[in-house]
Symmetry: C2
């Protein structure tokens, strides 16, 4: 009798998006002519950089000719792209060995699959509010423990982040073995400064813990006190995996490419105390579970590092940041408390008065036809907040902002 | 202290290829001018179909324009491709609901990751000789049990396949919960007939087991008594997942695309006896661990179903099969016993006399500079055999065959 992994019974089918769609559809049934603007999306709308398109076409042509055809990619990716990544790190003063870089299919698979190379008994921490996929992947992997009275998981340490500290994740009292950090954070759009991140690295060194550092939004960072990479912090290579994606900054959500760094110095432990490089485990996982990322996609990513490509990426990023800034300004001028929107595409707002997140969601939808994501879908400490994003087109963002200017709050 | 998944300690870093390369390199050091021909490869050498290249370029252009740009793919894939797959099944008389089809990144990730939605206590069977990744993924997932005296895993049932039965996998005496079947088989190149497969489906229904049916080489099948799909067998939708790939037949090893079918009828069990559709678990896994396959790659796969695309796929397949047939004929004419090479790119030969697989590997390398894969790397019952493939170019295959014609056996 084939048994199921029953841990899957404990997660919802697909995040929160179903519930949002259900409510938006109910509104549309009553108001079929309504022009709804979604500031919910974490998907990009800016077309792909022209340099990436050129690279795809060139690579496609190569694939049609016997002399230049390429079969299987190395499981960890082609050197031509890895070398560009290593060079890019060098521009911020970080030396990364190319053996430690793995081309991925975007951040998500690696953020989840890293759980597969870790022991089942690890205690994992997540900052809250948090992207649901971290928690889901911990639960699915059987690392959640049991559900406590307050509807939390016993083996997950939730690090409550709140407005008193601009949503910065503080070091927990207890020992954790693994912690997910996202900088800038999704959903709050807030950042972890160098000094705060140093606390985390020191904590991880002290406890022989590892930090899974989600860098998917790195390209949006510009404030001087915010590190571009965790490896700017001394000792971080001993404790941190850094997971990147080209999705948000280069319009690659539909292309699926990024990279993950597993420094050779980063060791995990057998129960006997024996040490092993996490890099070795990941190399094995990669060889057994993947055949790499498509060649033509890796060429598209490589093109982002050319001068022209970089300029196009910069344009995409600055457009998204302009959108986010516009949303932030508007909400602030309306007297709301707002976070994010500077080093991040996300804008996080305190809903006015004592309304719940869903109540404000409904209010905005019915009164302005603007859709946001209720903060409580990112965990209970997100209750009373909402996430908006700068990913919509400039026209849609402007139209949404015009409505937010007038809507009764 | 971050603990490792210690099951990873129990597998080798990368299959067998390192060992083969080591020995080939040792030969090359002694004979730097040698012209070595590898009939080891499972990678394709035939360029990508022109229709696929056209589709990639068209899709790339769409991605550069705001109106046609596409962000995230649906996690399970685009309908335009899924509908082609459903239609293709219909040509062989099989009705598959499109909700059950998932576009994958080639067969390998799904063949491994399916273990993640199954319970840890399942007993798994593999036919032997076998592609090492099945066994590795069982061990890594903690489903192997312990190593027995004869160097096998206690919770893996090995189904010895041998020459007396043309390497057909026979139903085991004991109950197994999950079984991997590959048709045509890698490495033996032999097939599972309809009547044999019916035995397996009936067995799985009887034991409430599931069959993970690896169809990566389906396109090479033509013998009338061999099913193109396990769903040709009555009742198979209740017990079988079918995993396909465009890699081998369409030259897609460097593009990474295929599809997996999880019929809604296929149920697995909670320990309480409660039933759950495996499809639901896979949908959750997909939503949490992937963001789908690149849009442009899905368009390339769609193009294979056009008339021109199909013709190009047929040409690729027939070239590989011609290579395999040539190798088979040559070896047969030299008096060797040979299997496969008809419905499969793989040729499986009994090494002459009582030599070990590695001994014959060395003999062929030194006497003819032709490289094959020693059969014992596919499990102990592969000892005394060797795998050759039809994937090399026609010129290389001809040159290899000329040498095999003359080499002392």
């Amino acid at each position: 009798m084939a048994l199921a992994n029953e841990n899957y019974f404990n997660i919802q089918e697909i995040y929160y998006s179903n519930e949002i769609e259900k409510r938006v559809n109910a509104y549309k049934l009553l108001h079929p002519a309504a022009d709804i603007i979604r500031l919910t999306t974490a998907d990009v709308t800016h077309p792909l950089p022209k340099e990436a398109i050129k690279a795809i076409k060139k690579a496609a042509d190569e694939m049609g000719v016997a002399g230049t055809f390429r079969g299987y990619s190395p499981a960890k990716g082609y050197d031509f792209l890895i070398e560009k990544i290593v060079k890019d790190y060098r521009t911020i003063g970080i030396t990364i060995d190319k053996e430690c870089v793995f081309i991925n299919s975007g951040a998500k698979p690696d953020l989840g699959n890293i759980g597969h190379i870790l022991g089942i008994d690890n205690i994992t921490a997540v900052a809250e509010p948090v992207c649901p996929m971290y928690e889901n992947s911990i639960i699915i992997s059987g690392r959640g423990g049991y559900v406590t009275k307050d509807n939390k998981w016993s083996n997950i340490v939730y690090i409550p982040c709140d407005s008193t500290d601009d949503f910065a994740p503080n070091i927990p009292q207890e020992r954790v073995d693994v912690v997910y950090l996202c900088n800038p954070n999704n959903p709050t759009g807030t950042v972890i400064t160098k000094s705060k991140l140093k606390e985390w690295v020191d904590y991880a060194i002290r406890h022989q813990s590892i930090i899974v550092y989600d860098c998917a939004y790195q390209g949006f960072l510009s404030s001087p006190d915010v590190p571009k990479s965790i490896y700017e912090i001394k000792g971080a290579k001993r404790v941190a995996v850094e997971i990147h994606s080209y999705s948000k900054c280069a319009g690659f959500t539909g292309l699926r490419c990024g990279y993950s760094v597993f420094p050779a110095e980063l060791q995990v432990y057998a129960k006997t105390g024996e040490k092993i490089a996490l890099l070795d485990l990941w190399t094995k996982r990669n060889a057994n579970y993947t055949n790499g990322v498509p060649y033509i996609i890796q060429r598209a990513a490589e093109a982002l590092y050319s001068k022209k490509g970089q300029r196009e990426v910069d344009e995409t990023v600055s457009q998204i940041l302009s959108n986010a800034a516009l949303i932030k300004e508007t909400l602030t001028s309306r007297g709301l408390k707002v976070w994010g929107g500077v080093d991040s595409p996300y804008v996080w707002l305190k809903v006015p008065g004592r309304q719940s997140s869903w109540k404000f969601f409904t209010h905005l939808l019915y009164e302005s036809q603007v859709v946001g994501i209720p903060g409580n879908v990112f965990g209970t400490s997100g209750e009373g907040y909402m996430r908006l994003t700068g990913f919509a087109t400039p026209d849609d963002t402007q139209a949404a902002v015009d409505r937010l200017q007038k809507v009764k709050l």
